[in-house]
Chain length 188, copies 2
């Protein structure tokens, strides 16, 4: 049966195209999209047939999606094949992708910069460059922590925060007032 019809088809193909921007290749993007909109678990052959890609490609894609923890293995009684579904809700999925990207896009750079900033600069030019690097480091470090904070919020709070809109400014002012003189308690 053709699983790739109508809107599902458009959705899956689009996710394939966007895949590269989101950190995976076309096939992986398509697989994730199909498993997401198709409620029932699918096996590797079904995926390969629906997406018209090789069995090997599907196998690698499944491995990658499992590494991201975006899909779950299922078994059906009397069937030896491995079946897979999208793991968790759309929110869970977004959270996972967000977290994984934070790791890939921030951590390596933070770790390099920490290293570099330990060295004494050799000359005037390097000293100036190091100053810039420190600024980059401080910003990325802050971003990383913020991303972490967001990752840890439960869904209710995250939703509240995201819906604040420009109200966030007012809320920050409100905090200033309430907090009064108690100097910058940042609590980690």
């Amino acid at each position: 049966m053709d699983l790739l019809t109508g809107q599902t088809r458009a959705f899956v193909l689009h996710f394939g195209e966007m895949g590269s921007r989101w950190g995976f290749n076309r096939t992986v993007g398509q697989m994730l999209a199909l498993l997401t909109v198709h409620g029932e678990p699918l096996n590797a052959d079904q995926l390969a047939e629906a997406l018209r890609v090789s069995r090997g490609n599907v196998s690698m894609g499944l491995k990658e999606l499992q590494a991201w923890r975006l899909i779950e293995l299922r078994h059906r009684p009397g069937d030896r094949k491995d079946y897979f579904t999208a793991a968790g809700s759309i929110w869970d999925m977004a959270r996972t992708v967000f977290e994984e990207r934070r790791k890939r896009e921030l951590d390596p750079t933070l770790s390099l910069l920490r290293q570099l900033l330990l060295n004494e600069p050799d000359n005037e030019r390097e000293a100036a460059a190091q100053e810039k690097m420190r600024q980059v480091y401080d910003l990325l470090e802050l971003l990383d922590q913020f991303a972490n904070t967001l990752s840890r919020l439960d869904e209710r709070d995250l939703l509240k925060l995201m819906k604040l809109g420009s109200g966030v400014t007012r809320l920050l002012e409100l905090r200033e007032k309430v907090k009064g003189g108690v100097a910058g308690k940042t609590d980690r």
Copy 2:
């Protein structure tokens, strides 16, 4: 003169590698890194020599960085060459990259999903798929708005917010109390 020494070298090469994860290719990543840590404006020949890439490659890279509005054209008296520097502060840069990525990673998908959700589903399966697509849409829409809100915050507020850490939970509670019965004013 060799601009690529010591820590600057390591920094620039690393940014080249990370480039692809951040949405540009290696040369563009290296160019941006070099222009960022090197305080003074550089011309295309200097960039090509320092990074050991072709003149044509540098020309394309400069065009792309200008399209991102990450670099600025400068002129020096008595010199016909075009010189470039990183535009604005590190914060400005981060903001620009953030904003540009939001556009590339969210907008096309939002626009496709808006389209798809207008159609009546053809059958039961498509209806179920559409329901999932709506969930994806709602989440991405919310994310997009939140990203927008963050983009618009001034540096002071952004800093405050990012430094809140887990304090953000308490702040949200605080809001509940103060707001009292005034039902969900979200203000866009």
